[in-house]
Symmetry: C2
Subunit: 253 residues, 2 copies
Amino acid sequence: MIKVILLGAGNVATHLVNAFQSSENVQLTQMYNRDKEKLTPFKGRVKTTTHMKNLEVADFYILALKDDIIEEVASKMPKVDGIVAHTSGGKSIEALSRFKAYGVFYPLQSFSKNRWVNFKEIPLCLEANSKENLEKLKFLGKEISGSINEVSSEDRKVLHAAAVFANNFTNHLYQIAEDICKQNGLSFELLKPLIKETAAKISDLSPRDAQTGPALRDDRQTIATHLETLPEEYRDLYKFLTASIQKSHGKEL
Amino acid sequence: MIKVILLGAGNVATHLVNAFQSSENVQLTQMYNRDKEKLTPFKGRVKTTTHMKNLEVADFYILALKDDIIEEVASKMPKVDGIVAHTSGGKSIEALSRFKAYGVFYPLQSFSKNRWVNFKEIPLCLEANSKENLEKLKFLGKEISGSINEVSSEDRKVLHAAAVFANNFTNHLYQIAEDICKQNGLSFELLKPLIKETAAKISDLSPRDAQTGPALRDDRQTIATHLETLPEEYRDLYKFLTASIQKSHGKEL
């Protein structure tokens, strides 16, 4: 049995509990969080503790914590023999360098508390302070995901920045589309099939080849009509993104 | 039997052929296109013609044409008795005002030639020059879609502008994410599950509530790291979208 202790009780931790408990070869030994209340949802499923001194012995200590408290929590941990790894996209592996064996166990996905995701499909980006420890992290990773990737801290930073475009910024555009609908008394439901298909399309087609629309065609009449139609607060962004599409597709304007 | 003639042979026309031919109550009487070659893929499935004078009699004439040729093609049509409707998101219903009975039959989706979509789920936005003709268009629409919506030309313009955010601009962000990966030798495959989940999430959650990330948290350290990490050409857009998220969520910065 691979013994795992989870530190944290947020969205990533919650999804990891489900993933680890679905694996026959993993024993989720314990969960730690300093706030007792946050551990309540896990009672009965995992042993929990709010005290570092009660931390048991395990093969892996996974810190599923917000970026800004990883070092603080790590500094309070005993100097364990198992591998200590955080799940952050943005933090360097060196945040955990006080341990003998350390690494990164970053699931590249956006987790929400009440949405189930198939963990098997989530790319795990792994890094460790030695080849041996990397192999161990891969061994654990394979128990829960079908996509195991060795990614350096430098590359992970890049991925994390790219993920902001693919997730945060994309979601913001959805929100703008919703706002535009609402401000005009139109149902956002009308746009949902389009949003789903836009995302689904990239399985078959590179986004560069999938690009369509007035910006790409340099259809100035439609662009002008849209700018008139849009709420004022979104006009500059429309112009900026239109210019970005045209630049990126080598339109000479 | 409802008799339909399609004018056009592009992506929208192709998907409409499939949709109409799946309905037991619709007879796709004929397809028109001025370019014979473009009709080749439909040979054997539908009667085709390249001459307006050969246009048969039908209940509906659906103009699945690019915006800039709708009026031109319409001007060459005989003054038919059936309802003439275009499928454009951006064109006013008045583009077809030379006919007795006219309207709009706009499927709100992004169509690609080689991707099947379930037409039943595509919102149809309908408009007509009379109540009676609107009812007729609804009657036809229900044969192929489960989402029938009466949308005025004004509202359709708004929806079309919102769709640019939900589709064109979103796809552009995917392309940027792909570029960032490629420029650093990373596989874009790593981001695909994230992209799919970001889109899937809005079924349950308003995009406003689904927003996460360094911009929303005003996590200046992560933002600074991303800006350093990004290819220079995408830094301004990163800043612009970060500011837009913060403005839109009422951060006082």
